[in-house]
């Protein structure tokens, strides 16, 4: 630990290690004791009794399942964020020797003794603890005094919500850590003398922490954009600085471009590279990915598809998977049941055999590709591959019905055509069972229809409608399977029209009975197909961004405007038998201080701006720059981390506000110092302000103490005491009735 600090403190201003080359060899070290003290306190508040409660707390239930999957190296998709955060949590678990065998099924479930709870929670807690010294240093880099730095550190130290969020297996503290680190290193870079090349080390660190912040949660993007804004403003000033030579300006611009734009992007991709190399086994989310992706995972689809013939030929037996993953992935299916003659709403149907999409493997998913001009349904030798533009018929393997479509309204989507297995009822409804093969990715692959690789659109020859999964479930008569329709090409959304051959073999039997036996037999043989990392990365990223989140309301979800006044809290954990409980509740006094300083800064800024515009220079130039920089970082940081949530339509929780809150804690003491030195002229006022500030700090501490039982879950409080803690009516605090 000591090593950690000394190296960490190396760059702070108070510490100068001077190594003289004269004899005797001298080493002088100054250690900022305040910083050390703050760090120790912060480690103590975040790390003590870390393994209590020995139960799953709130979102641990969500992150935990991913940690388990990492341990088992099983592939998954999490649409909530990029993989670095999960990987950090998994690293903690890995260090503690967690084997992934724990079902994270409900909040409050006890961990078995085989799970090392302490290590699971250690890394986020450490990050949370390091935020406190980081804020201290950041304030110094913003050119404010050590006293302000101490104030900011204390506000962060005594913030109950940050403590709660750090002490469990959650990601906000990691995010906040990287964001603060990015700003700190950027300011170090900016403040360093321009002659030193050493400062580009800071810039690299800044870029790296930006990459990490975005890698932990997409929310990191907001702070990253702000940092980019500040950096480009500084670069713009550099461009305007005519004392610097053209060459130097170019070099500096390129350096900044590389460190702040290229590096984070590379790192972001790198996280995915690590992610995909760890997760090499197939798992529960396979179905969301394309067949080619699935085939690259060990187990799962690759086991089935190994050794299949590559090119689809006339006579091939295939299963066709829809490339639409909404609502669920499924295969083209038919069975011995007809559409009802009349639907519930009185519309008629063709009463032919149902064609549906079925989300499970089934023998009824097999179809045979038939040449319309020939009778036989086996593969000739040599096989005649099907190419882009060829016209085929599709015969259902088990029932020998032809895939057919006609101008009859589909059961659930009446604007589209019905698709059926053709039965000739002699009612002057001729078969229209010719389909043209349209390979949509023929530029990338080839114009031969390939298993797994080719994405094919099946276009109905008579009506030029395209075979499509409508996404609607059929009612009971259709066994709740998904509806298949044919829709005019221009009407259909282009997204989900493709079909991929997943299982495939060359048919060898001409007779129906033989064929049924053949279809029931498992498929076999062996080849390995690889797709490149970039293809996998792009597909995974696209899926993560497009998988629809349910935006249903959660019992503890809240709206952004409630966060400012902390109208809401989240119950994280309740002891299974007693009243001991943990809540995400902020420190109300600090929260008030934060809001007050936000308001005060804005009022002051407007006041100064208007006065300056009229030519009154209230502040010396240096102080003004400091003031502006403080506003850019802190108020800007609050804005970019808060305003976007007002526009979002997803389920939001109080903890989404924590990054924004940290910026305000950075602002408050600095603003106080500014008022003290530049606004208050008389000594009396200054003293009063000091007294007032200490009183506020004291009450911050007191309210921290008051809410401690809800923060640490210990000691247990009686129902009356709990009721006393319910400072707002809208807080949900739970009591057991005994």
């Amino acid at each position: 630990m000591v090593f950690l600090f000394s190296s960490f403190n190396f760059h702070s201003h108070k510490i100068r290690v001077a190594v003289m080359l004269h004899l005797p060899l001298m080493v002088t070290a100054q250690v900022d004791l305040v910083l050390v003290l703050v760090t120790v306190l912060s480690l103590w508040t975040r790390l003590c009794h870390l393994s209590y409660p020995n139960a799953v707390v709130f979102d641990e239930v969500y992150y935990g399942q991913f940690v388990s999957l990492y341990m088992k190296r099983v592939f998954f998709i999490d649409d909530s964020g990029p993989p670095l955060g999960h990987m950090i949590l998994a690293l903690g678990a890995y260090l503690g020797g967690f084997d992934g065998n724990f079902a994270w099924n409900r909040i409050g479930a006890e961990y078995p003794c085989s799970v090392s709870v302490w290590t699971l929670r250690f890394l986020p807690a450490l990050c949370g603890a390091l935020c406190v010294p980081l804020v201290y240093l950041l304030t110094l880099e913003l050119k404010f005094s050590h006293l302000s730095a101490l104030g900011a550190a204390l506000l962060l130290l005594l913030e109950n919500s940050l403590i709660v969020q750090s002490r469990f297996m959650l990601l906000e503290s990691v995010l906040i850590f990287f964001v603060l680190l990015a700003f700190f290193s950027y300011l170090c870079f900016y403040n360093a003398p321009s002659s030193s090349w050493f400062r580009y080390g800071w810039l690299l660190l800044c870029g790296a922490s930006c990459g990490a912040a975005i890698g932990v949660k997409y929310m990191g993007l907001f702070s990253y954009l702000l940092l980019l804004g500040v950096a480009s403003l500084h670069t713009w000033n550099l461009i305007g600085d005519r004392t610097v030579s053209h060459l130097s300006v170019c070099v500096q611009c390129v350096c900044r471009f590389f460190c702040l734009l290229v590096l984070p992007v590379l790192l972001y991709v790198f996280w995915f590279y690590v992610h995909l190399s760890i997760l090499s086994h197939s798992g529960p989310h396979d179905q969301l990915m394309s067949s080619a992706f699935q085939a690259s995972l060990r187990g799962g689809l690759s086991r089935i598809t190994q050794g299949q013939p590559l090119e689809v030929a006339y006579g091939s037996q295939v299963t066709l998977k829809s490339s639409a993953s909404q609502p669920i992935p499924c295969w083209l299916h038919s069975h011995k049941a007809n559409y009802p003659i009349r639907y519930e709403n009185g519309r008629g149907s063709s009463h032919q055999q149902q064609v549906t999409c079925y989300p499970f493997k089934d023998v009824n998913n097999w179809w045979i590709v038939k040449d319309p001009d020939r009778q036989e349904m086996m593969v000739s030798s040599p096989p005649r591959p099907v190419r882009h533009g060829d016209v085929i018929q599709l015969v259902h393997g088990m029932t020998s019905r032809f895939l057919n479509s006609h101008d009859v309204a589909a059961p659930m989507s009446p604007h589209a055509q019905e698709v059926s297995g053709y039965i000739n009822f002699n009612v002057s409804m001729a078969a229209q069972n010719l389909w043209r093969v349209d390979i949509s990715n023929r530029e990338v692959e080839s114009d031969v229809w390939k298993t797994i690789l080719s994405e094919v659109r099946l276009i109905h020859v008579n009506t030029s409608a395209v075979l499509k999964l409508s996404g609607v479930s059929l009612p009971d008569w259709g066994f709740r399977q998904l509806e298949i329709v044919a829709e005019k090409l221009f009407k259909a959304n282009t997204g989900n029209l493709g079909w991929t051959v997943e299982e495939h073999r060359y048919g060898t039997s001409q007779e129906q009975k033989e064929r049924e036996v053949e279809l029931h037999s498992p498929s076999h043989i062996d080849v390995d197909r690889k797709i490149s990392f970039w293809a996998k990365f792009l597909e995974l990223q696209w899926k993560m961004l497009t998988v629809k989140q349910e935006d249903s309301e959660h019992k503890y979800s809240s709206s952004p405007l409630e966060w400012i006044t902390m109208e809401t809290n989240i119950a994280y954990w309740l002891h299974s038998s007693s009243n001991a409980q943990i809540h995400l509740i902020g420190n109300p006094v600090s929260w008030g201080v934060a809001n007050f300083s936000l308001l005060a800064y804005q009022v002051l800024a407007v006041f100064y701006l208007l006065r300056r515009r009229r030519g009154f220079k209230d502040l010396p130039h240096g102080v003004w720059c400091k003031f502006v920089c403080l506003g850019c970082v802190c108020v800007g940081g609050w804005l970019v981390n808060f305003v976007p949530f007002l526009l979002m339509e997803k389920t939001l929780f109080l903890y989404h506000y924590l990054p924004a809150l940290c910026y305000l804690y950075l602002l408050s003491p600095a603003l106080l110092e500014h008022m003290h030195t530049h606004l208050l002229s008389s000594v009396t006022y200054q003293r009063a302000l000091c007294v007032w500030a200490s009183a506020v700090l004291l009450s911050v501490f007191l309210s921290y103490r008051t809410f401690c039982p809800l923060t640490y879950g210990n000691p247990e409080l009686s129902a009356n005491e709990l009721r006393g803690l319910k400072w707002r009516d809208s807080w949900d605090i739970l009591y057991r009735r005994r």
């Binding site: 201003h13 360093a192 461009i239 305007g240 005519r242 090409l489 309301e553 959660h554």
Partner: protein, 751 residues
Amino acid sequence: MEDYKKQWNTPGDTSTLRKRKNLSENTPLSKDPGRWTQDDPGSSNGTLAECHGSDSNNPPATLLLLLVVASLSFSTRFHRLSEPSHVCWDETHFGKMGSYYINRSFFFDVHPPLGKMLIGLAGYLTGYDGTFPFVKPGDKYEDHNYVGMRGFCAVLGSFLPIFAYLIVLELSQSSTAALITAAVLIFDTGCITISQYILLDPILMFFILAAVLCMVKFNHLTQRSFSASWWFWLVMTGASLTGALGVKFVGLFVILLVGLNTISDLWRLLGDLSLSMVDIAKHLVARVVGLIILPLFLYVTIFAIHFVVLNKSGPGDGFFSSAFQSRLIGNNLHNASMPEYLAYGSTITVKNLRIAGGYLHSHWHLYPEGVGAKQQQVTAYLHKDYNNVWRVHKQDHNESQSGPPDLVRHGDIIRLEHKETTRNLHSHLHEAPLTKKHFQVTGYGMNGTGDLNDLWQLEVCGGKKGDLVKVLRSKVRFLHRATGCVLYSSGKTLPKWGWEQVEVTCSPYLKETPSSQWNIEDHINPKLPNISLSLLKPHFLEILLESHIVMIRGNSGLKPKDNEMNSKPWHWPINYQGLRFSGVNETEYRVYLLGNPVLWWMNLASLGLYLIMSAVASVALQRGFSLEPKRKEHAHVLLRGGGLLLLGWLLHYAPFYTMGRVLYYHHYFPAMLFSSMLTGITLDVLFRSADLLLRPPYSDWLQRAGLMGLLFTVLYSFYLFHPLSYGMTGPLAHEPGSSMAGLKWMDSWEF
């Protein structure tokens, strides 16, 4: 420490100073051209006069060009205006609403009323009698007079190229740039099509461009503050803003544009130390009056006219509160007479008091699997419907059969039975479908027999025990006996299974909000005498607020449907897909709203070009390279004029990315106007910079060749695509015999 401080300060220090100096250098320069073209042509700067060409400071030539633009614009818009003689696309809505004004029946629409009022007025003046039903697109007009309404829209649409011409002329002082813009807009098939039908868009765009034009004119009069023309343009800006907002809420974007421009203008004035604070205050007050108070007043006036004209009951009644409905002639609440106090055994409808809250409603459908208990749905519904009717019962079943019925009092425990399905209003400890913090409300039981969870305690807000419940006037709450929660309308729209009606829950939070308060609207009890109730007439401002909230709710309620093809904002600038106005088959007369692809792609390309050129220009200025005055002038036109137009484009385009409502292709047209104007400026500066490449005589040739090429492209592409707007018959484009054969360049175009 001190060293560091210095480091921090110095770079910021010099740069801010320098920037300000730059600004103050720039201002007179950019003001200059405006002044000398208007006041004393050709006096000052020789190089400037040269580079601007002789055309722009020659009034007769300018006037002539303007006349050419105007005549071309009018003739392209009025060509084949009356074709097709059936209802096209959204004419079915806006034509219908025009008719409502003529018939004076009340309706509800998600847009503010001005556009439809103007359409109605135009129809009225040209002899349309409001009798055509406008049922669906494709209906033949026959002998109804529809050309007047179309003509009105076409007139406003014809002004767009003219306004754009003037705006660009004002911003760039170059008639070449203005002519490029005008040509792009005149020969764009999309602009022609959208101007030819009874739609809100031409009206909206007319006001948007008018506002921008007035603003630009106003900006150029900074030297003559408080002169008559200064006041004129200020007031006209304000009036046009009202017009834009009064037609569609998209007008807010242009208000934002003008607002930002005004703020920067005021900021500039504030920095001008030669002006006293009193002068600045005068400027501020003038702008507040001209751009805030006057438009607000006009906007309110529009609504006042709207409510005065529409005084008969119509299809939009149910969206509004009971008090509002009582104003409408023909509504059952107009001069209503009903029993005054709520009694047991009465049939009633219950309306939520939140603004645009619905009637308590239930129907023969159950909550689906997984949404609480699988019992009958209870919702709030905005339309009047027999399923809104409930019956009031006592807690026990024995109702007094004879004699006058008992009256319901504050604190009584009642049961509400749904008249149609005979289920009781019921709640229990299950999560509500959307608001998970609340409990589910269902219909339960049969023929009024249920369980203890069907009991509700009725309270009059602000009442005390024993108070009677006044129909229509009392605000009441329904407290659930068993769980202590209160009947609540959350205002959230249920998904498809709930027929997109509004969720009703039981809230455990007892705070009094309009969402948990209800009033009794209809009240039928044959055993009680009917008394004529004169309701408190609502205040005009209340009506105004109410109608706005209803409109905003309606707008955000327009969610994309699953099977409907919806257009994405990124489709628009690349002209990915148009809108079919009329006709599908080969035999029909087809009109397809699609921008002239050549022009649209040119707009897109010059947008990129603009970004590159302005980046180069601003770096050159910031770095302090010594530039010729002519180049400096170009840079300022690019950065100021172009910047304003780019901002306009962004404001009219970017917000659509955040909108959850269903979007259509035609939403891009206001942004497209700005983009076209930017094209004019960009290409003009590009051509003028030809001498960077070649020496003088050749560079002039290059410039001329470029312009001729551009003109030829515009005309030829218009020739190719004109059937899109003027109508096509015969085979579809993918067949060889079609008039559009070979022109279906993108698969997604549907002609």
